[in-house]
Amino acid sequence: MKIRPHRQHPLWFAFILHRLSGLALALFLPLHFYVMALALNAPEKLDGFLHWAEAPLVKFAEFGLVFLLAVHIFGGLRLLALELLPWSGRQKTLAATAVSLSFLLSVGFFLRAI
């Protein structure tokens, strides 16, 4: 998919990252609640799932999930600051900081997991 020329700049990428991470988390949450519910309704199924969740590929997917969560939180904090705190013109820097912190957090999670 080609990104149209007028969109090729950091703050648009920050916008689309925030939207897509939000969408992905919204899709993930029902699944998450379903698995949580297994603890009450079908503990043996939950054990099977947790065993499956130890697989390396799933761990890697969890790294992606933590990144999405972190980037949505930090990106959201940037937007709240943009709208409610005294204006700062360094929005590109702030967006880059949000992504960097998210990488730091999710890579930290990944290194602990493996």
Binding site: R4, P5, H6, R7, H9, L11, W12, F15, L79, L82, E83, L84, W87, G89, Q91
Partner: protein, 242 residues
């Protein structure tokens, strides 16, 4: 004289929005040539029926904005060498505005929104009142001054995806104007401005993509102005009117 440079391959939008297409022209390249020079050359030497708009040619009037290689630009101050891709240049009308013909768009919706955003000065004194001094260094005036050099070129409006998605959205230029007036101590209806910009097509539609600030040829910051309006409306909602 083309100084030995290769000719430009220019594709230019012809016709209306729905029933139009890009037409190819070969234009001699020159040193320090602007995109507006290229369009003028085509109209004067290749096809006199080409429609486009310009006036001052020095970046003051705001009438020559077009889409150049996919990005909105003021064409009189855009050098070909800065935007050309190989030898190719694609010039189209501004986005988000109805195309009248070729490169000329109907600016009415753009200016209607300035009025809808209360982007007009609201006087409250007459000639019999003493002139109110405005301190240029006051915080309010400094904020207002940052946004007043707008030339109404609609580059920000054409770059904004929120305008594309919501035709009722007032857009960056009108909201920037409203913000400068909100910070003008002489304006007599600052509450009215906040009412006008906090409705359904108002400042809270902005998704903070920042294309307006990135492409503004006068280096204004409509994104910051809109954030200012958002702050002001939130302050008012919590009864903290400033």
């Amino acid at each position: 004289m083309s100084d030995g440079l290769r000719d430009l391959e220019v594709t230019v939008w012809r016709g209306r929005e729905a029933a139009g297409s890009y037409q190819r022209f070969s234009v001699p390249r020159q040193e320090s040539q602007t995109v507006l020079d290229v369009i003028a050359w085509i109209q004067q030497n290749a096809d006199p029926t080409l429609s486009y708009r310009y006036a001052c040619r020095v970046g003051m009037c705001g009438s020559c904005a077009m889409t150049v290689n996919g990005k909105p630009r003021w064409t009189c101050r855009t050098h070909v060498s800065k935007v050309v891709k190989g030898d190719r240049l694609e010039v189209g009308p501004l986005r988000n505005l109805p195309v009248i013909k070729d490169l000329a768009v109907d600016m009415d919706p753009f200016f209607d929104k300035w009025v809808a955003a209360e982007g007009v000065f609201h006087p409250e004194k007459s000639r019999h009142d003493p002139i109110e001094p405005v301190r240029p260094t006051s915080e309010q005036r400094v904020v207002a001054d940052r946004g007043i050099e707008c030339i109404n070129c609609a580059v920000c409006y054409a770059s904004c995806d929120t305008v594309s998605g919501n035709p009722d959205y007032l857009g960056p230029a009108a909201l920037n104007r409203a913000w400068t007036l909100y910070n003008d101590q002489r304006d007599g209806d600052r509450r009215g401005i906040l009412d006008a910009v906090s409705g359904s097509g108002g400042c809270h539609n902005c998704h903070s993509q920042g294309s307006c600030t990135l492409y503004c040829p006068n280096e204004l910051d409509p994104l910051g102005s809109i954030a200012g309006l958002k702050r002001a409306t939130v302050r008012r909602a919590f009864g903290m009117e400033g």
